[in-house]
Symmetry: C2
Subunit: 390 residues, 2 copies
């Protein structure tokens, strides 16, 4: 196990009607004004925005709002939110919706106290040194943004999707009501399931030795997601399944499962371009790419993929570990299939002639590779993209 530091400052309020406590909880934290960031109107139509505003009003908290955030959120609303938040001198930024609203809220929260262009943080030009407090009222279980240190924004003018990781953007408060996720369309739930599983995979496939405890924790949550995920997808009123998935998506991405181990993140890195250029849903791109990444990386550590096949995918132990490992990857693909997830980049309209540009979009490390498990060269990435185009 590697040395680590770990601190999740987020206060979680989980359960039925959690959102109605938003005002009260913000007041307890000493906040008096908030900028609400939301998406394309479903929170307006469902009445959720009104319920949250009513809760804020009851606690005498001033609220501004900005809507129009799109999936794979872009920089436009970030600039507008920064302008509005500065002008009103707000105390905190509340993402109302899914990861897109929250990732935008995070970008606004670091942009307000920064004199330069907020994109400097995403491009890697500057390090974040402060942020306004961030709050989440979540409506979809997927990205784990409600307690993660990440935010992903696409710069629209150049179609570059970039992730940022900094402890300054972990939300201070997360209101998690599983019932709010009942009405998420089934395919969106499937994207969410792929996303949370991918977050665990990025941590599970590691070179760090002797990480039994976090291996067990990762496997525990993966098995739960594979059991409760389909239930949530096919039974929109199943509270327990939605609750499992909601809390799993949080744990999947706040490092509870993965302290003290090297993480990979190359699959996310090579998926970003697919989303940015082809509007591929993040979870869908990951569902396509991850099994191909696994096949490509199998030889690097057959035993780890064998363990995955047995402990997570439920295959019987065998003599031929490599064969079982391959079956495990195939079974993962079948699981994704069963949720209606795609299995080829063709689904998003990607063509062979797009690959050179996609290869250029990838953010490689200084040594020209991406990831840590077995770092991918540009040739490796091309090989995975090609396999995923079959």
């Amino acid at each position: 196990m590697d040395n680590f530091t770990f601190h999740i400052p987020t206060r979680f309020v989980f359960g039925k009607d959690a959102e109605l406590q938003t005002g009260k909880k913000l007041k307890e934290l000493g906040f008096n004004s908030v900028l609400i960031v939301y998406g394309q109107g479903s929170v307006v139509r469902s009445g959720l925005l009104d319920r949250v505003k009513q809760s804020l009003k009851e606690s005498d908290i001033q609220a501004l709002e900005i809507g129009g955030v799109v999936p794979n959120p872009v920089d436009g609303p970030v600039y507008e939110g920064i302008r509005m938040g500065r002008e009103a001198g707000i105390d905190c930024v509340l993402g109302l919706g899914g990861a897109s609203a929250l990732d935008t809220a995070k970008a606004i929260a670091i942009g307000i106290p920064y004199e330069g262009d907020f994109w400097d943080f995403y491009s890697g030009k500057e390090k974040v040194k402060k942020a306004l407090p961030i709050v989440s009222v979540l409506t979809i279980s997927a990205a784990g943004s409600e307690s993660s240190n990440s935010s992903v924004i696409t710069k629209e003018s150049v179609m570059l999707k970039r992730g940022l990781n900094t402890e300054f953007i972990r939300p201070q408060l997360a209101m998690l009501n599983p019932e709010l996720t009942f009405t998420v369309p089934a395919i969106q739930k499937a994207y969410g399931i792929a996303d949370m599983m991918a977050h665990i995979f990025e941590r599970y496939f590691t070179n760090t030795q002797d990480v039994l405890l976090t291996d067990e924790l990762c496997e525990a949550v993966l098995r739960t997601v594979m059991k409760s995920g389909p239930k949530a997808l096919f039974n929109p009123q199943d509270y327990s399944a939605h609750a499992d998935i909601m809390w799993a998506s949080t744990l999947a991405h706040n490092d509870t499962l993965a302290v003290g181990r090297q993480q990979d993140w190359s699959s996310h890195g090579i998926a970003h371009g697919i989303s940015a250029r082809f509007s591929a849903p993040h979870g869908a791109a990951l569902a396509v790419l991850f099994p191909f990444w696994m096949q490509h990386q199998l030889e690097h550590d057959v035993e780890r993929f064998y363990r995955f096949a047995v402990k997570v995918m439920g295959l019987n132990e065998s003599e031929n570990h490599k064969e079982t490992a391959l079956e495990g990857i195939q079974k993962l693909r079948s699981f994704f299939d069963s949720l209606g997830l795609p299995h080829s980049l063709k689904t998003f309209g990607v063509k062979a002639e797009d690959l050179p540009q996609l290869l250029e979009d990838v953010k490689y490390k200084a040594d020209g590779t991406i990831g840590f498990f077995k770092p991918l060269t540009k040739e490796d990435v091309l090989s995975i993209y090609k396999a995923a185009l079959e």
Copy 2:
């Protein structure tokens, strides 16, 4: 899954030489003076106290100290620490050692800002409303006190051992270096293993339905403890095993594994008197009592004990769930045996004639029972004590 709130404010610094960062981390949190609370001198002899003081000095943090805390800590050092801390106007209280030092530090931290007798909080007369910040430098993996909301103190004059639970006493900072636990005597490691497993059992045996995710998490950590625990015990230089156990003991008692489910705590409740009156090590008393508690409660939920037998104790699935459940309990007893833990209350000198007093010592709820899984009446407790005296 029940509604829940969850917030772990603790900043964990985990790994080799973690204790050398104590001063730096305290400074980052804005503290300038600290009262160090420790036990019976092993931290002096090992040089740990000096290393921590040196680290504080390098960050210009004033340090006072109070030693002499005993296992199953008593109220004397608490009163003395409160007096010293008030007089010097210290900023925070640092427990250096195991749970006894930290539980004492917690009692001091709530006692300093309170005008009355700190025991009011443990007797249930008063609710905690504030506390000085608490810090831990841990030397034994067991109680999870480094991020739990609990503290247990014995009032020596009446030999009453009482637990307190309040969010105000979760430490703000925990320095966890597994190497500091290498030299813990094997039997103390065994007590710690029983203690952390018991913390999970108290959460695992629940009536709350549909808690798959936390069931899986509890089982994951229990399996890890049963695998890494003996390694740590029998191989005093095995860093990975000690690291697993150290982090497992933290997770076992900060509710990471058990949000949204009813907990029991009757086994701890009936073990406290054994420790208070017979100086039984806490983990040893739990190792004796828990298997008898399980047998006594088996009929209440055979399926849960069957699941435990299969998922945690590693027994094969079977037709006869009750028989397998019983085998699981027996296998747990054998596991405790293999660590050198006792299996009868006789070990502590308890005799049949002591039982009436022990029964009186138990802190029952208003309805005369203790626990929540299947609440124990006084007759139930007597029956468990009697079985454990065979």
